[in-house]
Symmetry: C3
Subunit: 129 residues, 3 copies
Amino acid sequence: MPLVRIDVVAGRSDEQLRTLADTVQQCMLEVFAAPERDRYQIVTEHPPGRMIVEDTGLGIERSDGLVLIQVTQQGRDTAQKQALYAALAERLHEAVGLRPEDLVVSVVENTKADWSFGHGRAQFLTGEL
Amino acid sequence: MPLVRIDVVAGRSDEQLRTLADTVQQCMLEVFAAPERDRYQIVTEHPPGRMIVEDTGLGIERSDGLVLIQVTQQGRDTAQKQALYAALAERLHEAVGLRPEDLVVSVVENTKADWSFGHGRAQFLTGEL
Amino acid sequence: MPLVRIDVVAGRSDEQLRTLADTVQQCMLEVFAAPERDRYQIVTEHPPGRMIVEDTGLGIERSDGLVLIQVTQQGRDTAQKQALYAALAERLHEAVGLRPEDLVVSVVENTKADWSFGHGRAQFLTGEL
């Protein structure tokens, strides 16, 4: 169920983008304990200059390798969120060379009633999930 | 007020996309009891491979006809949400032949203070709505 | 930390879009009391017809100059939100000639645990912010 919007600056190959998305999904499965095949991702490329990201005074230097991940989900606690951020930074660095400086993550919470995965049913409420 | 992001894989005609959006809006009016002309939609087409959606093990087979609808709103209860999912699946199938397997819906809740519909005013708070 | 998605109908120059984004950021700094360099914006242009926005019966006439701003943030109160809407309308009108009728704003709330600004850390929780 996490719905994951992955926004990047254009410039990576299709293969790199796929590996990036696959790696994000691995973190959802392992750190967010998402069930198998619980994958809902939208990857969007933006022209240079359309993602404008600074650093809140933290001394983080951004590059055009920037990746912004927005996760809509329900049910994970603070420890899982912190573990997710760490795993994303580490594994995306390994998998696609993402600089940890270029990773921004934001999470939004909803509830079990807020999801329909197909067939017009709310599978968290029907007992299917 | 529902702000509705409709993300699809590229391939439909402009006319089909308009019918799709019109049908989503009909569901907002009838099932979510949105007032007349309460329409705030963004339709975004994505290249193949950029919407990566599996099925959480539910046995749902996706196709490139996939439609992902993210609704930001306030005030609807669980019964209304369930009715929305069902109506979207049924009516989008009728209107544009959308396979019910290809419809994913996610809702996010905010509050009356979180909306300005124009003129820099929060119309839910000023008494205009 | 406000994550700000700015969706517009295509047609403005790069320079106009930059001024628009800069002006939105000024409002975040001054009205939402965001710290210096607390900027996380994604500007997306849409083809005509893909942003379908009516007026909830408020008698607001939209044009293709439409700007829809979705802000994900935590910690601002109702007065700050109302001040933000007013400031955006006024300053975007001054800076890029945006008609106040063409500005729609929607806010979503999350929490301090929901942000990682880089390095895989949750800076609101680590004491860095």
